[in-house]
């Protein structure tokens, strides 16, 4: 209601100013004069606008202090640098960086998606393994796991789809089944424990079960285990360089793009 009244009076205020400038058409003039007869505020507006106009009208006339005639020398000068001073370099630089970053980002993502399929699997393997490891870890204190070792073995057996690409040639025997390639320190003890059907605390269980299952393989087997543990890690690291590169390029593209946009808006081209 108040907003409508305000808008209506803003309209009358414009009419009042047009009125003193002689810019109202015949019908508008008649309507405004009728309104002004009843509206003290509009009479006030007309009076104030007239006073302002009279003051401005009293300002001294400004004349050109010199001739602005063009000369061939003036025309030979390059187009005014001031309009474009400082801006185009920064603007073009920001736009160039944005374009380069987008191209590089596209290239990296394409490489990642096409040639890096195995890498992607390996990259993904880590969290899945962790999940598997977590599942195993969760199984440790579970009464069900204690009561039925097979359920825990099932939990371990569920991991092959994710671990196959990075698992070294399997060992024979229970130890091989129980082996989890997860770098998680909780995974191995759990696996050993479940295969061995032990329910004792983890360190002792690992020692005991290790002696039972891997004793025949000795130090060489332990070295293989360590190497096979390292292998997925290295693969993950090799695959993982894409991720920070993508993030860095996306950030560069975003920053440069925003900078270019801000510069373009400020330039009001």
């Amino acid at each position: 209601m108040i907003a409508r009244l305000f808008r209506r009076h803003a309209h009358w205020s414009e009419s009042a100013n047009a009125y003193i400038d002689g810019e109202l058409g015949p019908s508008e003039l008649a309507r405004f004069e009728t309104h002004m007869g009843q509206c003290a505020r509009c009479r006030e507006t007309v009076s104030a606008a007239r006073a302002t106009k009279a003051l401005l009208d009293a300002m001294p006339v400004v004349r050109a202090p010199r001739s602005f005639a063009l000369t061939p020398a003036l025309l030979a000068e390059p187009a005014q640098p001031s309009r474009t001073h400082g801006r185009p370099v920064a603007l073009r630089l920001a736009q160039g960086v944005a374009v380069l970053a987008v191209v590089a980002l596209t290239a990296v993502v394409t490489m990642d998606m096409t040639s890096g399929g195995a890498n992607s699997n390996q990259t993904l393997a880590s969290p899945q393994e962790s999940v598997a490891g977590s599942a195993n870890a969760a199984a440790v204190p579970s009464p069900a796991a204690e009561a039925s070792p097979t359920s825990a073995i099932d939990g371990v057996a569920a991991t092959p789809p994710t671990t196959v690409p990075i698992v070294p040639p399997p060992h024979t025997g229970a130890g091989a089944q129980g082996y989890s390639p997860s770098p998680s320190p909780t995974a191995s003890p759990t696996a050993v424990r479940t295969v061995g059907g032990e329910s004792s605390p983890a360190p002792q269980a690992r020692d005991a079960a290790g002696a039972q299952t891997f004793g025949a393989q000795g130090a060489g087997g332990e070295a293989k285990r360590a190497a096979s543990r390292e292998q997925p890690r290295k693969a993950n690291v090799a695959a993982g360089w894409y991720r920070p590169a993508e993030i860095a390029l996306a950030a560069a593209a975003a920053v440069a793009g925003i900078a270019a946009l801000v510069l373009a808006v400020r330039r009001r081209v």
Binding site: A10, S13, A58, P60, A64, R66, L70, L74, S82, R83
Partner: protein, 229 residues
């Protein structure tokens, strides 16, 4: 778009006298011929147009920028830009076209100043009256000094209002253009011109009533006790 040679500021909208109408037609014909020659690169023809419009162009730049050196630069650049772009002039009101270029130059200059603030120079004195003539009576001298001081105060007040409103106010109240031509110069609608003038005058009134001296003058002109604010 207005016709070429639309009514000059201060002149009535329609020339009542046949003689004045004929003069106006001749003026338009000469201007069209000069424009046509300038389009073919005739610098002398263009300079005749410069002479014709340099006062109004400089006056607009001066009021929009508030200082003479910058206004001179903007005026020179406006004429240079106009000469380079005259091939693209589609006909119509040449004065409005050149004033639009000048207003854009002034706006660019103001934008540059915002980016790279300059050290303020002392107030310009080009509005100051010429040295008093001993033959003049002292009343006139005092009056002209007061007038010059008033001009500077008003100029400062004008610089406080937004550029678009200032442009409309200067064109309407100082240079005496009709709303239709202001719309062409400012590249906006007639309604926008009305709105800018209305808002600009209101803002200016508020600024003027803040200054005791201007408020006093304004109150006297207002004709009522308006100075209590």
């Amino acid at each position: 778009m207005l016709e070429i040679g639309a009514v000059a500021p201060g002149y009535p909208a329609a020339c009542p006298s046949p003689t004045l109408a004929r003069v106006e037609q001749e003026h338009v014909a000469v201007e069209e011929a000069l424009i046509a020659r300038a389009r073919h690169g005739d610098l002398d023809a263009f300079n005749l147009l410069v002479e014709r419009y340099q006062d109004v162009v400089f006056g607009l730049c001066r009021r929009l920028l508030g200082d003479s050196p910058a206004a001179e630069d903007a005026t020179q650049e406006a004429f240079l830009s106009a000469f380079r772009a005259i091939g693209g002039f589609a006909g119509g009101n040449f004065r409005a076209w050149i004033l639009r270029i000048a207003a854009n130059q002034s706006k660019d200059e103001l934008r540059r100043r915002q980016r790279r603030p300059v050290i303020q120079t002392p107030p310009q004195r080009d509005d100051a009256p010429p040295p008093p003539d001993p033959a003049d009576d002292s009343q006139d001298v005092v009056g002209s000094i007061e007038q010059a001081e008033l001009g500077r105060q008003l100029e400062r007040a004008l610089l406080e209002i937004p550029f678009e409103q200032r442009q409309a106010i200067v064109l309407a109240d100082i240079q005496g253009y009709r709303y239709e031509e202001i719309a062409v110069i400012a590249s906006c609608s007639l309604g926008t011109v009305k709105s800018r003038i209305s808002r600009g005058r209101e803002r200016l009134r508020v600024i003027l009533t803040r200054d005791p001296e201007l408020s006093d003058r304004f109150g006297r002109l207002h004709g009522r006790e308006e100075t209590q604010q």
